[in-house]
């Protein structure tokens, strides 16, 4: 295997001198081998990160990542890229803070610019009750050593000049909170960066390869049936987001996950006017601006089980109405695209990163609408779990058994309603 061509200012200059004709492909396109020590299903950020950390942290490089489409074409490439660790429950704080720390060194670690931009994640609120909730959550963060700030209306006016702070609107903003270290990253670059770094360590990334069956013999996973033939596997890690229940079902495992739609939309590009991420509590919309200048707007779930990847116009209207209320200039922008992803909504709103009740089979899933920020830590923890056949303390709470024992991690106290989190 050839050493990875490292990217730097010098390689860029060298590339320029030769008219950019000598760049090597960032990863190979190998034929699948008959078997691997570990096979990861799903070439989104989570699957690719798992493969990378298996090779880098655990020395297990006889690994394949099987992706039915192209890598990063699932939710990884459809999300609004918010990265944060502003949680209240200690289990979530520890996990997401580990993830945020990995994000902070990720571009260097992968030698690939994932454009992580810690521009600050702001949540604004409108009522005393909402303020108390957000204060409690952010005080909890500070108690755990995570950065968190309370923002007055004056702070908001300074940080987000475009925000509508008028007292005369339907739900006036009375204040906000911020996690300054939170921000956004380039979603495609995360998939590509992990893919390139994993490939360089020997991992086979196999696109256009759909897993259609999981063979279990004597309670142990042995082989995957795929559109490119059977592939033997010592261990298998599932990282298929909205398709988690389908894949688990192939191994006879039922999951507390339902698949729902989440919509987002981008406008035509305009000059920069917002350099933070702003989430609006009243109407569940959040707004940021991409590096290309598009205004990126997301909201809440469509609210019923769906695998269609087509969002409802009703939800789109909600999101745009809300964004226009709080950023009035948005009302004059043309929307370029809108789309939806299939969300793996778990019954307590927290993920499952765990061994499943079939020997050799583990999964990461149940990410709801917030798994992009988890990508590094999810891969890190699933790699640990596959390598050691046991969870790390960071992901031990995110078990499948918790739904039976009652040790659920219901951050919002919404109860077992998949679309309620």
């Amino acid at each position: 295997m050839a050493a990875m061509q490292r990217y730097s200012i010098f390689s860029l200059l060298r590339g320029a001198l030769s008219g950019h004709r000598d760049w090597e492909p960032a990863w190979r396109a190998p034929e699948p081998k008959p078997s691997y020590d570990v096979v990861i299903v799903g070439g989104g950020g989570h699957g690719l990160a798992t493969a990378y950390y298996l090779a880098r942290n655990h020395g297990i490089a006889n690994v394949a990542v099987l992706e039915r489409g192209w890598i990063g074409g699932g939710n990884t490439g459809r999300n609004t890229t918010i990265v944060r660790s502003n949680y209240l429950l200690p289990e979530n704080q520890r996990f997401y803070e580990h993830s945020l720390k990995l994000w902070e060194g990720l571009s260097r670690d992968l030698n690939y610019n994932v454009m992580f931009s810690p521009r600050g994640v702001i949540n604004v609120f409108h009522t005393d009750a909402q303020r108390d909730y957000w204060l409690r959550r952010h005080n909890g963060m500070r108690y755990a050593g995570i950065d968190a700030e309370l923002l007055t209306r004056a702070d908001l006016a300074r940080l987000v000049p475009a925000l509508n702070l008028s007292p005369d609107i339907r739900h006036p903003i009375i204040g906000g909170v911020m996690q300054p270290r939170g921000g956004v990253a380039r979603h495609d670059a995360v998939a590509w960066g992990y893919a390139r770094a994993a490939d360089a360590l020997g991992v086979d990334i196999i696109q256009d390869c759909e897993v259609t069956g999981i063979d279990v013999e004597g309670g142990r996973v042995t082989r995957l049936q795929t559109s490119r033939g059977p592939i033997g596997a010592g261990r298998v890690g599932l990282a298929v987001a909205g398709h988690s229940s389908r894949l688990a079902e192939m191994a006879g495992v039922r999951l507390p996950i339902e698949t729902h739609l989440l919509t987002a939309t981008v406008s035509e590009p305009v000059k920069p006017f917002i350099d933070t991420v702003v989430s609006i509590a009243a109407t569940h919309a959040y707004v940021s601006q991409t590096d290309k200048g598009e205004v990126l707007i997301g909201g809440s779930l469509d609210g019923y089980n769906s695998w269609s990847q087509r969002g409802s116009p009703a939800r789109l209207e909600d999101i745009l109405a809300s964004a226009s209320e709080y950023f009035p200039r948005v009302s004059r922008l043309r929307q370029l695209r809108h789309w939806a992803g299939v969300m793996d909504m778990s019954m307590d709103g927290s993920p499952i990163i765990a061994k499943l009740p079939v020997e050799g089979l583990a999964m990461t899933g149940g990410w709801c609408y917030g798994g992009f920020k988890a990508t590094p830590a999810s891969g890190w923890c699933l790699a640990w779990t596959l390598a050691n056949d046991a969870p790390h303390t960071l992901n031990a709470p995110f078990s499948l058994e918790r739904f039976r024992t009652g040790a659920v991690l219901d951050e919002n106290g919404a109860g077992p309603v998949a679309w309620g989190h």
Binding site: P256, T259, Y304, S306, M347, P416
Partner: protein, 86 residues
């Protein structure tokens, strides 16, 4: 946009309804006697098919009846709609 044909009100926008999830789950009739296993299955482990789904919808802004709707979760095609058991 889903247009759900309510037996009372006719075809109405999805925005008038509240979703109630998998219609196949059975609440244990005697909760005190139900095992933890049965209780957890009822609360957390529901069908999640990519295809035909039998599900509950509440006509919140209409007749306020619970409906049982057949809908394909992949194509969004609607099938039979009937009143749910009271």
């Amino acid at each position: 946009m889903l247009l759900i044909p309510c037996p009372f009100c006719g075809a109405r926008d999805e925005t008038e309804f509240a979703y109630g999830g998998d219609a196949g789950v059975e609440r244990p009739t005697d909760p005190e006697a139900a095992t933890d296993e049965a209780w957890t299955d009822y609360l957390c482990f529901h069908d999640n098919p990519k295809g035909p789904h039998r599900e509950l919808w509440f006509h919140r802004d209409g007749c306020r009846r619970w409906l049982e709707v057949e809908r394909d979760t992949w194509t969004h095609e609607l099938g039979a709609v009937r009143l749910s058991r009271p």
